[in-house]
Structure formats: C-alpha cells, structure tokens
C-alpha cells in the first residue's frame, strides 16, 4: 500500500510542475524512505520525533539519539528543591516512542556531525546517515567567566542544578543538611539563559521550604541582570507578601568568580557573598555538538534558524530546536517553546519531503507556569506569528500576559500542563 502511494507520489511530483528538474532527478534518487535523525530527546527532540511519525503517518523513518536512559523534566524540578516533588515524579520513559510510534531509539551520544556527507557519528562508533538532521541539544555552561569553577572538584562543590537530575537531588540534600540560620546563595547569569523565570521560582521554592523547616535561614539572590527577568512585578510582590524576611534580592550582581572552598561568589566589582549552600547558574550557550558543527553563528553562542522550518542558517539539512537557538524577540528559552519549535519543524520537514515549500504562516504559543509555593502558581504567556517581511516570529500585539495573582487554580492548571506536555512529547 505504501509502496503504491509512493509510486503515485513520484508520478504526481512529475506533473505538479514545481520544476521540470524535479521530475527528471527524483526518479533516479527514488528508492529509499526519507530518514530523519534526531539528536537529543528532551522537550524539543522527542516532540519532533513523535510528530514526524504522527504527521507523516509513519512515512518517515526516525532515529532518535539520546544518551540518557530516561527523560527528566526541568520544568517542575524546582519543586524537588522545595520538597513537594521527588525526581521520580518528573521522570518518564522513552518506551512509548518506540513501541507506539515506531521510532528507533539509540542510546548513545552524538559525537560529530559531518554536514557535507550528512552523517552523525556516535560515541559508540555507529554512523547514522540522514536526509535531514534535527538537532535539539540543549545548552552547555560557559565556565570561562567563572575561573574558580575550573578548580579541581569545584563543580562538585558548587552545583548549578540547571539540568534536572543528580544535581537537583544533591542540592536538595544540601538544603536539608543545612543548619537553620544558614543562607542559600544563588547566582543568576545575564539573560539569555534557559528558563527565564526559573531562578525566581527557585528562590520561592527554597524560601517556602525554609519558611516551614528552617525559619531563621535566608535566600540570597544575586542577579546578573538589572531586574527580575520574567514576571518581575509578580515575583517581587510575592516575595514581599510571603517571604519578606527570607528572600534578599540583589540585582546587578554579575558573578565574575567563585571560590568553591569557602562557598563564595565574587562580583565583577569585587563584592563577595558567602553562603552555607551555594548555587551558581553559569552563563550558557548552545550545547557543544552544535558549536563544534559551526551552527552557533549568533555571537558564537546560539544557532540562528529560519523560523519557517527551524533549518540552520549555517548548514543545509540541519534543523536546530529548543534552548540552543537564537530566539526571536520576546521568545523565551523554555520547554514549551521547544515543544512548539518541534512541531513547526516537523511540519516543514514533511512539506519539504513532499516537494512543497514549508507552510508560510507558522504560529506558536508559550506558557510558563511558576510555583511560588507548593500549591500556588503564576504564569506568563505569549503568542507568536511569523512575519513574512521581517522574516521572524513576532509576539502578536494585544495577546499574552501574566497572572493577576498567584492562585491554587493556576496550580491545578500547571499540573494539567505538565501531564499534557509530557504526553505530547513522549507518549
């Protein structure tokens, strides 16, 4: 059946007249099914793999490359620090992608991409050929601006917990072990970084935990930005109302170094802040595989893409998704965005394989919920539409906004969001 449709398609391609050239050459190239390799099974990559299969009715072969055994959600991982969730609650398997959607899952790390030959080389030695590559590699940390983190064992002492997993659990244990009266010191990098409201949610979660278990303790927030980057008015109001004597917010504190032994963060002005528990979130860039492939062509940090397809502006046949891209204005680096990038990309790849130009009017929506306690939540949302003249995604004027106040009702919706985006990504 598929074979017959396929032959019909070749015939149709010949008469649609996109270009005479198309008819003449596609015959010689015909036999194999299109193959997409997806690198990275986080919110972007797993969604792309799943939607490529769903929307092509299984007509595209998809190989998904991921070194981790399971998916651990960064969204909601601050609740592990607050104590109302366990890491297990945020951990999901990849088996449905294989069993239900027919994706080939390869548990390995992509080591090198040969864009000219269209081959991905894996750490385990296997080579994967592709027609199109979808790269959703996430971020890596830039440690050059924090020399002390390169000292031996410094990175085991000073945790980031900015990739959900063992560091999240380790940071929670340190908070539990900390004596009452101590301080938790968190350093936030200058924007752009993964999850703009995340550090401020984290401050709420640790403060919430302290308010219940260690009331004499403090949360000191050293922000590399001049002001709270996301939901600023809401967060500051909530801190004043709920965590007045706990959270000490210090804007424009650009961390220039860290001394792991003494648990000290040093600003570029030479100010030193010491804490019982240190949490330094370093500046970030697109992950190493993207940088090494030459795709990080925006300030050598982020990967510029064509927003109609999320194809790299640097290399043909490679699409980049998620936190690794150079975003359009007002587009956050969020899990929700990565999930949306993936669908525009999947639709475009299907269009391209079918001999059509990618859809010209893509839209995407972002919603980020932040837990300000174990139950109460605030949101920020925005809607983005492609602007053909400006060739970028523009936040639709008049749409989007933030919560009026934190509420348990939004806490319920945040739970709904998590369950549905996990299912939309993985199940």
């Amino acid at each position: 059946m598929r074979r017959r449709e396929f032959i019909k398609t070749i015939g149709a391609a010949g008469v649609t007249g996109t270009a005479a050239m198309l008819a003449t050459v596609s015959v010689s190239a015909a036999p194999s099914r299109p193959k997409v390799v997806v690198v990275g099974a986080g919110y972007g990559g797993a969604t792309a793999a799943r939607y490529l299969r769903l929307w092509s009715n299984g007509g595209i072969d998809v190989i998904l490359v991921e070194p981790n055994a399971s998916f651990i959600s960064c969204p909601l991982s601050n609740l592990v620090l607050g104590g109302s969730k366990q890491l297990d609650d945020l951990t999901l398997g990849y088996d449905a992608l294989v069993r239900r959607h027919g994706i080939e899952l390869v548990r390995d790390r992509a080591e090198r991409i040969d864009a000219a030959k269209r081959i991905v080389r894996l750490a385990g030695g296997r080579q994967l050929a592709y027609d199109r590559l979808v790269l959703s590699p996430g971020v890596d940390f830039l440690l050059d601006g924090l020399p002390g983190l390169n000292a031996p064992d410094a990175q085991d002492t000073v945790l980031h917990a900015w990739k959900a997993g063992t560091q999240t659990v380790a940071l929670r244990r340190r908070l539990e072990a900390m004596e009452d009266g101590g301080s938790f010191v968190m350093s936030i990098p200058p924007a752009p970084y993964r999850c703009p409201p995340g550090p401020y949610e984290r401050a709420c979660q640790v403060a919430h935990y302290f308010s219940r278990a260690k009331p004499k303790s403090k949360v000191i927030v050293l922000d590399g930005n001049e002001d709270v980057v996301s939901k600023g008015a809401l967060f500051k109001r909530i801190w004043a109302e709920r965590y007045k004597d706990i959270i000490d917010y210090r804007p424009s504190f650009r961390a220039a170094d860290v001394e792991a032994k003494t648990h000290t963060v040093i600003s570029e002005l030479g100010d030193e802040v010491q804490g019982a528990v240190l949490n330094v979130i370093p500046p970030q860039s697109a992950a190493a595989i993207a940088v090494q492939t030459g795709l990080a062509n925006s300030n050598r940090r982020w990967c510029a893409v064509d927003f109609l397809s999320f194809e790299s502006t640097q290399e043909k046949n490679i699409h980049v998704l998620g936190d690794a891209i150079q975003t359009a204005p007002l587009m956050p680096k969020s899990a929700h965005m990565a999930n949306q990038h993936a669908k525009i990309c999947a639709a475009a790849i299907i269009d391209i394989f079918a001999g059509r130009a990618p859809e010209q009017k893509p839209m995407l929506t972002n919603t980020c919920y932040s837990y300000v306690s174990d139950k109460d939540v605030i949101h920020v949302t925005s809607v983005h539409a492609y602007d053909a003249e400006k060739k970028t995604l523009i936040a639709v004027p008049g749409a989007g906004g933030v919560s009026a106040a934190a509420s348990g009702l939004e806490g319920f919706y945040a739970g709904v969001w998590a369950r549905n985006i996990w299912a939309d990504t993985l199940l």
């Binding site: 396929f6 190239a29 001999g355 369950r419």
Partner: protein, 120 residues
Amino acid sequence: MPSLRMLAVSIWLAGAAAPALTAMAAEPDLAGRRLYANCAACHGTDGRPAGNAGSSGRSGEGSLPPLAGQSRQQLIASMQAFKAGERPATIMHQIAKGYTDEQIALIAGFLANQKKQEAQ
C-alpha cells in the same frame, strides 16, 4: 521570496528521497491540525488530554474537558468569548487574542472532526 524558496526545495529534492507524503496536502484539516498543535501542551495531542483516558498513568489528578469531537460552533463560541473577555479565564483570554477569527475557525473545524476520547 517564495520562488527562490521553491527552487531551493526543488534543488534539495534533486539529491534525496522523494517520499509518499504529497497525499497529506489533500488533508482538509491540515492547517487546523497544525495550528491546534500550539494548544496540545495543555489540551492534549489532537484534543485528547492526558489523564482522562488513563494513558499517562497519573489519573485522578484531573484534567481539562476533551476538545476532540466537540461541535465546531461550540468551540468557536468559546474561543470568541475568551477573546472578547466575556468568559472568565486565568489564561485563555490572553491566548485567544493572539488568533484571528479565521485561525480559530480552522482549529475548531479540525477538533470537531476528531474522534471523541473514549472514557476509561
């Protein structure tokens, strides 16, 4: 520059597999399906929310009413009420304002044609 883009596509096709995907062009709800995909993170893939059918294994925590299989008119009326600020909401009034009447009709048309979620 659509013509250049088409040319680029053609040139690309010259060097690779041409699959059985053109049939999808005829799918009547294609535009609605793709637009709806923006909503799936809260309302579930194709309008069938997780947790309602027990597929997530985390049932009992509540979910949103399934949109799949609702009538087109009802869905359009809901979205327009959100858009006009006439229906109370935490977030939908802000999101609905980002979509044109035509886009809302496409999304509603797609959802109305989806099979209702089977109760567990």
